[in-house]
Amino acid sequence: MSDAQPLVEARGVSRVLQEAVPVTLVKNIDLTVGHGEFVSVTGPSGSGKSSLLYLLGLLDVPTAGQVLIDGHETNGLGADRLAAIRLRKIGFVFQFHFLLPEFTVLQNVMLPMQKLGKLNDAGMKERGHALLEELEIADQAKKRPDQLSGGQRQRVAIARALANDPALILADEPTGNLDSKNSEIVQEIFAKLVREEGRTVIAVTHEPGFAEATERNINLVDGEIERDRRR
């Protein structure tokens, strides 16, 4: 696999909801995102930003075209195989933190590692602490999510997304629920993940400030790429 190999690629991807009146979420998307890119996806609401993100993250499957991860085709893979790829290569951050309320911050971060089962218990704890350290919330490790502020929770969610060291981080309106100060912090975290760790971040956002801070911006209108601009 050469360095030029794109991390994630969409080839003619469409997603149509088969309902009484078929609803087209995204239409004929061609897109290539390489390693170490920081991409923002913008567009009016209902333009298919989130749908595209779920398709790229193998959380949803296209009705036409296909998504390639690390050059591997994913069409025809069963749900379990897709889950296995998500587990190793993709980390999700959503608008809502979706932390499990019964578990502590550290336990939440450890969940994907426990599922992967590569590290032993001590190793997972160590990595969990290191991630929380990196996101500067290590002091909250033993607290439960409802004892944290919104900004802290979102940072825990990012730590969880990073748990299995994925190359691709997909963020769906990650700052949508945060005040401007916390928004900036989260934005800066993503930038750092790209700059210092070489990860790829694709973030759906409707905040112009966020979009401007990224080096590449894709604007969707009615499910189609209206503009793909590199800075």
Binding site: I85, F94, N164
Partner: protein, 416 residues
Amino acid sequence: MFWQVMFSIAAAQLTYRRRQTIVSTLGVALGVGFFIAASAVMSGSEKDLVQQLVDNAPHITMKDEFRTAAKQPVYIAFPEAAVDLTNTKPREYLRGIKNHGAIVDELSRQPGVIAEAALTGQAIVRYASKDVGASIAGIDPEKERHLTTVEEDMRQGSLMRLKTASQGIVIGGGMSDRLGLKMDDLATVVSPTGLVRRMKVVGIFRTGNLLLDEGQIYMLIKDAQVLLEKPFIANRIRIKVGNPDDAEEIAARIESRWGYRSESWQEVNRDFLGLFVTRNIITYSIVGAIMVVASFGIFNIISTIVMEKRRDIAILMSMGFRAFDIQAIFLVQGVVVGLIGMAMGWGIGYILLEMLASVEITIPGMTEKQGIALERGVFQYGFGGFFAVVSAVAAAWYPARKAAQVRPVDIIRGAA
């Protein structure tokens, strides 16, 4: 490692709905508890009754009768022939088992077998101008001790005193009460043919069975032969075998060997034994219904958790948990509820059994209070527990499958 995380998620969600979880666990526990109690009472009383049937009476009784009427000799001589005889009269024969001494000797030679020739009949016992009808059993005290439990039920005197006393009888407590007949009193015994003898009470037994206590008397076989005017005759051979379960088979062999009708205790009590089957079906249906209701409780709690935890399910799936993993989480919850219910049910069952063991009841037809016969074995606990876990897993199956079918995109999109 993997099951550890499954288990911790399952446990976290169960404790999140603590009250409902406790209620449905209690449902299972009650089901198991009642299963143990009901099953202990049922099989306990069954075993107790069978034990009584086996111990109180001989295992096999050979009677001076034949199962089928005797054929005319001509039918035996020409089995294929077309013979028509009219106005034939069956041969009269002297009632009694022919050559009973030899039969008893031969049976007694077999290991574990006790055989006794006995003469039974009817008589009236008269005392203080009162008459009571009685069944006479003319027996051999030495052997009777091993054949039935009368010796154990003796309240005064003993069977063995029949041998030393002249013209002795052993009567039941009920007869003693009715006639005011006490130990060492002389009663008048009247045979159907009008023979009158004065006999001395040398023992009083009390079995708890009204029929026996009021109407059975024992005497030596030779006294019975004199009283009933049947010298040297025995009309019963009473047999005890090593293993009561073999009685049916041995009875068939004895009958084919000597021709006399030989009834095993199973044959005599066939209706009774059939009743147990019906009784068990009824009991276990009711207990089964309790378990079904308990299962609905588990179904309910797990369905509720699945409904409320759809977001958590969605995020776990987005992380890379497979549908199977999600299903496993909820099945584990079913197993956990089942296992805890089982453990609590064992406790409840144990307490119920302790309570039942201390209860004394009067059974109709019995004159004495009795404890409830209980079967307290591993089987009751094992089977109850097994049912608890199986029904819990079955109840969790559907909601768990529903959880596995959650499409994370739908949930996440809906939440955003």
